[in-house]
């Protein structure tokens, strides 16, 4: 009798310490230094806003978040991820702007039975063959935005297209994506060296010589600023209209708005997307940071909300991995894009919109939704994923 009682009390003590005392630990890997540090800052701001709105608690437990800087390099991202998993013993890892950094760090997280909530990069291998039950995305698979853009080009009667993108994992995915849906002819394609090449004069000269109906580009971060500047200086705009994905965002718009007004792109989100959660996010963000959030911030905000939804479901007990995984798959929360429905590979099945650069009523450049291009779209790699 006494033995049983002792055992019961030990078990009770042990489990209660798991339930109440232990804070939820989240690691967040992003780029905080280098020229791309602006993006990482925006992601951090998005995540911080979400935590503020949750009173920095999830399922009754305190939340500790550890930000790590990958310095825009896969090897450093991998090191930092390793540290988060092995030394800090985090329950979740989130963040990752760049596909090549995510690819380098991916195995470290999922193989150690830690959950990885990708809040930007969505390389095709992770969506397909190398998908993993511990990986969840709050963004998109790389191809999808480009596929939406391909549809837009078809609708606008573009027959001859010129393509430019940086030569790395995401660039290749995006190019593959636009070619999946675009029905016309690709008259030229340049993959520029990444991240070293910042002068595109040689490529722009080729575009002019090829006389395409339109130019399609993917240049994220600072490359987008440089590209737009040179495109505007080359005076190509009147002959060759520009269609882009992830080249113009709410981070670069204060700098490039003047040249970018009216530019068209495709995205799952824009600040004016009409959902209750998005209104709460955008208003909160503008109040706290006095600027428009970018899609990077929106995705990072969602990644914290997704983790919160799962932790709440399991009452703060994150030790039962299967229960947490089931809760993550359900994604029972209001995302900025509405409800998230996960496909078998844990990428969201979602709508994509055509968006446009405008000047808002305060004279600030931002993006706004023009129309829906793809509904409930699932990425093309999901069928290759064996979960």
């Amino acid at each position: 009798m006494f033995k049983k009682l002792a055992l019961a009390s030990v078990i009770a003590l042990a489990t209660s310490s798991v339930f109440a005392g232990e804070p939820i630990k989240i690691g967040f890997v992003t780029t905080l230094s280098t020229g791309a540090g602006v993006i990482g800052q925006d992601m951090r701001d998005g995540a911080e806003l979400a935590l503020d709105q949750l009173d920095r608690k999830m399922g009754g437990s305190d939340v500790t978040i550890i930000y790590e800087d990958d310095g825009f390099k896969p090897e450093i991202g991998k090191q930092k991820t390793d540290k988060l998993v092995k030394k800090d013993k985090v329950d979740f890892v989130s963040g990752y702007i760049w596909s090549h950094v995510l690819m380098a760090s991916y195995k470290k997280v999922v193989d150690n039975d830690v959950f990885l909530i990708g809040s930007n990069a969505g390389p095709s291998t992770i969506a397909g063959k190398r998908c993993h039950e511990n990986f969840f995305s709050t963004s998109w698979q790389n191809d999808q935005n480009a596929m939406a853009m391909g549809e837009v080009l078809n609708q606008r009667g573009i027959k001859r297209l010129y393509i430019m993108a940086p030569n790395y994992a995401a660039g290749k995915n995006m190019v593959a994506g636009v070619k999946r849906t675009f029905k016309g002819e690709v008259v030229g394609q340049d993959m520029t060296k990444f991240p070293a090449q910042l002068d595109f004069s040689a490529e722009l000269a080729k575009v002019r010589a090829a006389k395409p109906d339109a130019l399609w580009v993917f240049y994220p971060g600072k490359h987008g600023v440089q590209f737009l500047k040179q495109y505007s200086q080359s005076k190509l705009a009147k002959d060759v209209p520009l269609y882009n994905i992830f080249t113009i965002d709410n981070l670069s718009l204060p700098r490039v708005g003047e040249w970018a007004e009216g530019s068209l792109m495709t995205q799952f989100w824009a600040p004016n997307l009409d959902t209750p959660a998005n209104k709460r996010f955008v208003d909160g963000f503008k109040e706290k940071y006095d600027r428009y959030p970018s899609f990077y911030a929106a995705q990072s905000y969602d990644s914290m909300m997704l983790i919160d939804s799962a932790v709440r479901k399991v009452d703060g007990d994150v030790s039962d991995k299967d229960a947490v995984r089931a809760a993550l798959t359900e994604a029972d929360f209001e995302s900025v894009r509405g409800k998230i429905n996960y496909g078998n590979n844990h990428f969201p099945i979602q709508d994509f919109y055509l968006t446009k650069v405008i000047k808002d009523s305060d004279g600030v450049y931002t993006t706004e939704i023009v129309k829906k291009v793809l509904s409930n779209h699932q990425d093309p790699y999901a069928s290759k994923c064996k979960i």
């Binding site: 230094s33 280098t34 020229g35 540090g37 602006v38 800052q41 030569n167 290749k172 394609q189 340049d190 993959m191 520029t192 060296k193 070293a196 090449q197 910042l198 002068d199 004069s201 040689a202 490529e203 000269a205 080729k206 002019r208 010589a209 600072k222 600023v225 440089q226 500047k229 040179q230 200086q233 080359s234 005076k235 700098r255």
Partner: protein, 308 residues
């Protein structure tokens, strides 16, 4: 083969070559004459761009901003030489690499503190922000032409300084035989400070010219400085003439290679593979060339007199 396109690409290559020359001239002066390895040369380029962006905003004019940047980078170079580098001449190259690498980190952080992480933009005045058709049917941005013209002008000025003035005579002497120069009672200390200031000014001019095309960013010198080292190795360390010719050759090979290699590769492999492989191969072309030059003439194509 599209000849107009080729011509335009040669022009683009020439323009890149001019930027490389301005950087390489400063680097080779310091390296060749003072025997000092300055990895932080790219940081001076970055500072030139940031100065120009700031001054342009203050004066509301790109031209005034550019003019103010020239003395500002000269003073910066002199200060850096006097504060940090002066006691390193007698040390070996490894120590110099270490200290100047530290300077790179220092300048990056300094810029982050002063200007923030976002970077700046230099707005071009309207008369530079246009195109002209120097090749019929091919509008070419006036600003890029201006870079070529200014680069040539600086090259001529440097040629005049080095071949016709007393300072130039000392510089040439320094490149050939430093010990002898000291023994003849030349104030080597002062000469080195001046040369370093001149090198910094040239880097600053390159930075202010690159600013309006590329945006002004932390660490913007990093990618171009490697090409610059390639240029001075090919041209012959310490030789301005070598730097000039090598810069143009490297600029044209880089640009033309980037532009036509995908099409050439497409004849052999699938177009997707070609467009992926081409940027990698075209950036290797320059290193092939450097290896070739080093194998045949280890002292470079046009080494200064007395070195070969």
């Amino acid at each position: 083969m599209n000849w107009l396109l080729l011509l335009e690409q040669v022009l683009n290559g020439f323009q890149l070559g001019m930027l490389l020359f301005l950087l390489a001239a400063g680097l080779t002066l310091v390296f060749g004459i003072m025997d000092f390895v300055n990895l932080a040369h790219g940081s001076l380029y970055m500072m030139g761009a940031f100065f120009c962006a700031t001054f342009s905003e203050w004066t509301n004019s790109f031209l005034f901003g550019a003019l103010l940047t020239i003395p500002a980078t000269f003073i910066l170079g002199v200060v850096v030489e006097m504060v940090a580098l002066r006691r390193l001449y007698s040390r070996n190259h490894l120590d110099q690499v270490l200290v100047t690498f530290g300077l790179i980190l220092f300048f990056n952080e300094l810029v982050r503190l002063i200007w923030g992480p976002v970077g700046l933009d230099i707005v071009l005045p309207d008369f530079l922000n246009r195109s002209v058709e120097i090749i019929p049917g091919v509008p070419y941005p006036i600003y890029r032409l201006a870079i070529i013209v200014l680069g040539l002008a600086v090259a001529l000025l440097l040629y005049w300084i080095i071949s016709k003035t007393r300072l130039g005579m000392l510089i040439r002497a320094g490149a050939s035989n430093r010990e002898m120069m000291g023994a003849l009672g030349i104030n080597v200390q002062l000469l080195f400070t001046l040369v370093f200031g001149l090198g910094a000014t040239l880097a600053g001019i390159a930075g202010l010219m690159a600013g309006p095309i590329l945006s002004v960013e932390i660490g913007m010198g990093r990618s171009i400085i490697i090409l610059t080292f390639v240029v001075i190795v090919i041209g012959g360390i310490g030789s301005i003439k070598g730097a000039f010719i090598a810069a143009i050759v490297v600029g044209i090979i880089d640009t033309v290679g980037r532009s036509f290699l995908p099409d050439i590769l497409k004849l052999m492999v699938s177009s997707d593979a070609a467009s992926t492989a081409a940027p990698a191969i075209s950036s290797m072309l320059i290193y092939f060339m450097m290896a070739l030059v080093l194998a045949i003439r280890p002292q470079g194509l046009f080494p200064p007199k007395g070195v070969a």
